[in-house]
């Protein structure tokens, strides 16, 4: 029965595809369109560069200044140096290894420890905690076996989960999803969100009746509170940002109906999509504590905050296709572009910035691809410098991926 159904599906798709007529060669049209895209990017780049200069000047004039930010009692220097930084991954100078646990091949490399993940199953995700790391392996069917590896060498089997784990920036909390599965590995019934206090070992759970466990986005985890959104499994449509804290019976939608792309670790600031057009997206960054919009941008899509919430990393808002070809750090309070990284001009090598995570309040660790190879590079917020934290290695997200960044939010 199943085979016959599958055969019928194949037949139907092939029949439709066979009926597609041949059309004139698209190469000229594609090349024309490519030149148009390049022109628009140059214009946008010019506008962005002008904005960058405007932003860079006041920053440059404050070289060495110590300023306070809002109510933060800790004084910190402001970033200095050029705002626009051009990169060639092949010529990056070497720097220190990442300071957060990361995956190189099958080895989780952390502060003072290396853990070889046993077996041959692919490693789907890692979430670092204060003295170890949670590692999900396998292809997700019927779930990902989750294990906790401590820096002292102990291993704890956590059972099968239905999402890869996410850790809080302070390394105390870990979140993952579970659900019942059928024999095909499909999540059935409600998803269950699990929040682990790694310090005490306490586990709290909440049911998400209309969520598919594999489709829940965890935006931030902090002090026993999780910020999440998901696609309603009945409709396939996004449910606005919700929050859930230990002890509460169910997640609560946040006022504002946020289509969140990132949430600050304390949940106080939300980056949300406000507009999606044929040429990209527009976003707003909202301070929930004052219910005020801090800034808007149609140039960037915000992806993550520093642990102190003062800065964000972002990608160009029109990043589609294979992946973003530039990456930026912006001031979370003002939207000022602090750094904008893209390939060195002329663009003989295009770089795809496939993932990033703040190591701390001043260092962004970026997974970047160039010419079929991948590196981890560290970019310093306070200077324009980027250095290779791991050397370029063969493989990309299309296959033989050599590195994986930790999932910290």
């Amino acid at each position: 029965m199943n085979d016959m159904f599958d055969d019928e599906l194949r037949r139907s798709l092939s029949a439709q595809a066979d009926a597609v007529p041949r059309i004139p060669d698209l190469s000229r049209g594609a090349i024309r369109q490519a030149h148009g895209i390049r022109r628009r990017r140059r214009i946008a780049g010019g506008v962005a560069a002008a904005a960058l200069v405007a932003v860079a000047l006041p920053l440059g004039l404050k070289i060495g200044d110590i300023v306070s930010r809002g109510q933060d009692p800790i004084e910190r220097p402001l970033p200095v140096g050029p705002t626009k930084v051009e990169l060639d991954l092949q010529t990056l100078s070497g720097g220190d290894e990442p300071s957060v646990p990361y995956l190189a091949g099958r080895t989780v490399v952390g502060d003072g420890f290396e853990i070889d993940v046993p077996g041959t199953a692919p490693i789907a995700g890692i979430a670092p905690v204060s003295d170890g790391v949670y590692v999900a392996t396998g292809d997700g069917v019927p779930g990902w076996p989750l294990a906790r590896y401590s820096s002292s060498g102990d291993t704890e089997d956590m059972g099968l989960v239905q999402s890869t784990p996410v850790a809080s920036t302070d390394g105390r909390w870990v979140v993952y999803l579970t659900s019942k599965t059928d024999r095909f590995g499909n999540s059935v019934g409600p998803a269950t969100l699990v929040l682990l206090d790694d310090r005490s070992g306490e586990q709290s759970t909440v049911s998400l009746p209309h969520a598919d466990a594999s489709q829940v986005d965890i935006h931030a985890v902090s002090d026993g509170t999780v910020y999440l959104s998901y696609d309603d499994r009945r409709t396939g449509r996004a449910v606005p940002l919700q929050t859930w804290s230990v002890g509460e019976p169910a997640p609560v939608p946040l006022p504002g109906d946020f289509d969140a792309t990132a949430v600050s670790p304390d949940g106080g600031v939300v980056a949300e999509l406000t507009k999606v057009t044929d040429f990209g997206t527009c976003s707003a960054v909202v301070d929930r504590t004052t219910d005020s919009s801090l800034w808007r941008t149609c140039d960037y899509l915000v992806k993550g905050f520093t642990p102190d919430g003062d800065y964000v990393w972002a990608i160009p808002s029109n990043s589609e296709g294979y992946g973003p070809t530039a990456i930026a750090i912006l001031d979370a309070e003002t939207g000022a572009v602090v750094r904008h990284y893209d390939p060195v001009y002329p663009r003989r090598h295009q770089i795809t910035f496939s993932d990033a995570v703040f190591e701390d309040d001043e260092h962004l660790l970026v997974r970047a691809e160039q010419d079929g190879s991948t590196t981890l590079m560290r970019c310093e917020l306070l200077t324009e410098e980027c250095r290779a934290a791991e050397p370029l290695a063969d493989g990309t997200s299309l296959g033989r991926n050599p590195y994986l960044l930790p999932d910290v939010r």
Partner: protein, 172 residues
């Protein structure tokens, strides 16, 4: 782009354009949209052509752009038109009068699938990609591919049953 590279791009388009168009049609159900989808995907591949040094990776690269671009189109349309509610929508009937092929029951139902499920089905059952290859194109885990595909097949079977047709029948 230097002339050699441009020639290689044109050769690639000449050789693979029709195959890409077929897949694009299965994703969009509309020939004009499929043509647009292929052209914008090729344009974006052209911009990155200098870094596509592995000829075997080019088609996978373009296919990934195409699927992501289509998902992005769908999301834009949804953002423009709808917000989420607690009530599931009626299933679309996919009754496009401009189609050039007589519809069969299965194809009508395939068009009711959400875009990610539909992409998974097209890549697995038309492109014959492995689960791992499909996961790389969709940018998700193999588990998610299995989940999306299985859910799509479950929905197709259920809807086929609703239409009072046997699971093996319904062909035009």
């Amino acid at each position: 782009m230097n002339p050699d590279a441009e020639a290689r791009f044109s050769e690639f388009v000449a050789a693979r354009q029709h195959a890409l168009l077929r897949t694009a049609y299965l994703l969009t159900s509309d020939l004009h949209s499929a043509e647009d989808l292929v052209q914008i995907s090729l344009a974006k591949a052209y911009l990155a052509w200098d870094r596509l040094r592995d000829p075997n990776a080019v088609e996978a690269y373009v296919r990934k752009i195409m699927v992501n671009e289509h998902t992005s189109w769908w999301r834009r349309a949804w953002r423009r038109n709808e917000r989420s509610t607690d009530t599931p929508p009626e299933s679309p009937t996919a009754d496009d009068p401009t189609a050039f092929e007589n519809r069969d029951a299965m194809w009508v139902l395939v068009q009711t699938l959400p875009p990610r499920q539909r992409a998974a089905v097209v890549l697995r059952y038309y492109e014959d990609l492995s689960e791992a290859e499909t996961a790389r194109v969709l940018g998700c885990s193999v588990g998610t591919v299995k989940s999306q595909t299985s859910r799509a097949l479950t929905a197709l079977r259920a809807r086929m049953a609703e239409r009072g047709q046997s699971a093996t029948g319904g062909a035009a």
